[in-house]
């Protein structure tokens, strides 16, 4: 692990000025994208991912449908300009196929597919910018896009990446850190605190894994707060817009918004 850049300096700061457990800025844009039923753009620092959801709708291929539940179809495309080195990846790239298969099976038990038999939900993921934490951004954006599409979910799925620098755990890695450190991505369901996805590809001692894994589960809760706030803000804006159009505003506009807090 030779690195020209100091990952964590003596003052406890990382190369981009963050502390060890600090996450990057998250911005969430839930505005409408074309004719999609739901869409979301999420930015984790310099990583940006756009997801559009179509459906539940009739499947293009009849033979692919299931009689008792909806089928999720995840397609991922990585923009050639998303990385520093411009490079076109084909849709059949194994890494991309693996990522989209991972996302598909992450959401299969979370989406209440049994409510829509014989239909299909299409999830199109576009990676616009990459700077580490690609899978994390894809999962978070997919959750938000499914929510804006009104697809019933059992819970949010919040993902976060983490790494270990010698013995110090770090959260939310950039590409620079990802290349140098053993790293993992964890996706949690904040309400039940259960883990739906764990991936790690580099060598790491079991004890270190335990630290960073527990920390990442905690960090998922923080991401959840951000995501929930974005969803609430959007709903408030929508209800406000409906009220403005109605002739007789019906009482307290916040009445329908009382989501239980957790």
């Amino acid at each position: 692990m030779s690195s020209r850049v100091e990952i964590l300096n003596d003052g406890g700061f990382r190369s981009d000025g963050r502390k060890q457990y600090e996450l990057r800025d998250i911005t969430i844009d839930l505005s409408q994208q074309g004719t999609a039923d739901g869409s979301a753009i999420i930015t984790h620092g310099l990583t940006q991912v756009m997801v559009t959801v179509f459906g539940p709708r009739e499947a293009k291929m009849r033979s692919q449908t299931l009689h008792d539940r909806a089928v999720l179809n995840v397609e991922m495309s990585v923009a050639p300009f998303s990385t520093g080195e411009r490079r076109k990846r084909s849709r059949a790239d194994r890494r991309i196929l693996e990522l989209s298969a991972a996302i598909e099976s992450t959401f299969e038990p979370v989406v209440q597919t049994s409510l829509y038999p014989r239909s299909q939900i299409d999830i199109y993921i576009h990676v616009l910018q990459q700077d580490g934490g690609l899978l994390q951004a894809c999962i978070n954006a997919t959750t938000l896009a499914l929510i804006t599409a009104g697809v019933p979910l059992l819970d949010f799925v919040c993902a976060v990446s983490g790494g270990v620098h010698s013995t110090e755990p770090l959260l939310d890695l950039t590409t620079l850190e990802e290349n140098d450190l053993p790293n993992l991505t964890v996706a949690v369901m904040p309400r039940t605190r259960k883990v739906t996805l764990v991936t790690m590809e580099t060598r790491l001692h079991v004890e270190r894994f335990r630290d960073i894994f527990e920390l990442a589960c905690e960090a998922g809760q923080t991401i959840h707060k951000e995501m929930k706030r974005a969803v609430k803000d959007r709903t408030v804006a929508l209800v406000g817009a409906m009220d403005a159009g109605a002739k007789h505003p019906s009482g307290d506009p916040d009445r329908d918004l009382t989501m239980e807090d957790r």
Binding site: S63, R94, R95, L97, E98, A101, A102, I103, E104, S105, T106, F107, E108, P109, L184, M189, T192, R193, K194, V195, T196, L197, V198, T199, M200, E201, T202, R203, L204, H205, V206, E207, F209, R210, F213, E214, C217
Partner: protein, 283 residues
């Protein structure tokens, strides 16, 4: 394209019911692996590994090539995996299925990207000549947990393989035939083993290790862990499936640590036995 036949409803209910009482159809305990059988072929680096009726053949050959300009000091390792329709009628030629993609990617991560083989030691002459190690994995028959079997076959083959001794004088490279000088083993950093655990939709069913084909089909999620006997995790892969409590994940890691130590012993003794019975002639 016909769908693979799914287990019938009574079969499904029976298996779920039995597993709930921690009973498996083949009589194993929940966290018991089928004992792997390793058969070595006449050549070095030819290993057939079987876990029950799952059989995988791994074969290695090495040749000298010119290294790519961006990595002049490293040898190359490539993994070819073949899931032919011979293994099971669920595979067919054409576009790779999801399972095939997962298996190839996992093999790549476990055997190549975990730095099991020291690539720099495969360099013969910087920028000119390096060893190119080709690992071919053929799945002969699939009755569940093909991934663990393929990883085991691959790693044992890498340990079993010996490359010819090479001598460099100035710019001249001499490759000595195995009959002249004893061939060299590859230098390995560590030996990762892969373990797959299956989870079931009912949360009261405990997780099980090394699922058979039926258990794999009925499971609601798989977790694969690759680690070495030194308690270092190399790959953890749980892509979706039934959600688990964080403690459960950590408990599984502890189980895997135990199993890796046991498996390491089996592999080492099998390799030693084979080496003892092998007569490498050196004049």
């Amino acid at each position: 394209m016909p769908r693979p036949p799914s287990p019938s409803i009574p079969e499904k209910e029976f298996v779920y019911g039995a597993l709930k009482q921690s009973l498996r159809l083949d009589g194993r305990a929940m966290l018991e692996m089928r004992t792997p059988t390793l058969t070595f072929g006449p050549e070095l680096g030819w290993v057939e590994c079987s876990l029950g009726k799952t059989r995988v053949l791994a074969q290695i050959d090495g040749k000298m090539v010119k290294p790519p300009p961006e990595r002049p000091l490293e040898g190359m390792i490539t993994i070819h995996s073949e899931l032919s329709s011979m293994a099971s009628n669920e595979y067919e030629l054409g576009r790779p299925s999801d399972q095939e993609v997962t298996i190839t990617r996992m093999l790549d991560k476990v055997l190549r990207r975990s730095d099991a083989v020291d690539k720099e030691s495969l360099c013969v002459l910087a920028g000119q000549r390096v060893w190119h190690i080709r690992l071919t994995i053929h799945v002969l028959s699939d009755s569940g947990n093909m991934l663990d079997c393929a990883c085991l076959a691959g790693i044992v083959a890498l340990k079993h393989f010996r490359r010819p001794e090479v001598e460099v004088v100035g710019d001249e490279i001499t490759i000595h035939h195995p009959s002249e000088r004893a061939p060299m083993p590859l230098s390995m950093h560590h030996t990762p083993y892969c373990f797959t655990f299956a989870f079931f939709p009912d949360p009261s069913t405990p997780p099980l290790l090394d699922p058979s084909h039926l258990e794999e089909t009925l499971s609601a999620g798989l977790l694969s862990v690759a680690l070495n006997a030194q308690r270092e995790l190399c790959v953890v892969q749980k892509a979706g499936g039934v959600p688990l409590a964080p403690e459960d994940v950590l408990r599984i890691m502890d189980v895997a640590v135990q199993k890796a130590k046991e498996l390491d012993k089996i592999v080492e003794s099998a390799l030693q036995d084979d080496w003892a019975g092998r007569n490498v002639e050196v004049r």
